[in-house]
């Protein structure tokens, strides 16, 4: 497993919506191949933007409420939250450059 912290239905509000810094949320599921592919990319982003961006993961199988609330369909879905609002999202196993350039808009 990766370095980014797992958040749950019960901790999502506190960890994501009430965060002082922008948050990248990786919505994933255990037996989703592309999720395994994007996980190391997400970890690299976490290290590269340490202090600027908080990076967390949501297992959609175990946390259906938050996944449904944000209309997650295809996974992996990477969502960016700022000031308690969803501001952007990227779907699928994207290259690090794509994810970084999306994220940069909100720093």
């Amino acid at each position: 497993m990766s370095a980014a912290a797992q958040v749950t239905d019960s901790t999502f509000k506190q960890e994501v919506l009430e965060s002082d810094v922008p948050v990248l949320v990786d919505f994933w599921a255990p037996w989703c191949g592309p999720c395994r592919m994007v996980a190391p990319v997400v970890d690299e982003i976490s290290e590269q933007y340490v202090g600027q961006v908080k990076v967390v993961k949501v297992n959609t199988d175990e946390n259906p409420s938050v996944a449904s609330q944000y209309g997650i369909r295809s996974i992996p879905t990477l969502m960016i939250f700022k000031g308690g609002q969803r501001v952007d999202m990227v779907v699928g196993a994207v290259p690090k450059t794509t994810l970084a350039s999306t994220l940069e808009k909100y720093l």
Partner: protein, 120 residues
């Protein structure tokens, strides 16, 4: 930070069925497995797990409000409608040769699948 639980694997019977299906379907459609066969292994395990739990190999790369209802709707049962109509597999199990992630394999052994999925 919480420690994630280890995800449970499918039965050997379902895994073998989905592994065999994946090889046959790739060959029949002229598609290839991902260059990273670990991706292939994880998806096959996911399909087999859904076959065990739901009776059909529902796509493991989607989130559903109601998995039983989705199985009945059949749209995302593998091979899903986008795959059958347009060779689109967002799970990256079946990749057309022009896909950057496509490898040159259409076969994967039971042991290869389990060697990968036992790590998780």
């Amino acid at each position: 930070m919480q420690t994630p639980e280890k995800p449970t694997q499918a039965t050997d019977k379902s895994l073998e069925a989905m592994r065999h299906f994946s090889e046959t379907y790739a060959k029949r459609t002229g598609t290839y497995f991902c260059a990273d066969l670990g991706v292939t292994a994880v998806v096959i395990e996911g399909l087999a797990k859904h076959k065990d739990e739901l009776g059909a190999p529902l796509c493991p790369c989607r989130h559903y409000e109601d998995k039983a209802a989705e199985v009945a709707a059949a749209y995302w049962n593998c091979p899903c409608v986008p795959m059958r109509e347009r060779k689109e597999c967002h799970c990256m199990l079946f990749l057309t040769p022009d896909n950057d992630f496509a490898g040159d394999q259409q076969e994967i052994s039971f042991e290869q699948v389990r060697t990968t999925t036992s790590q998780y």
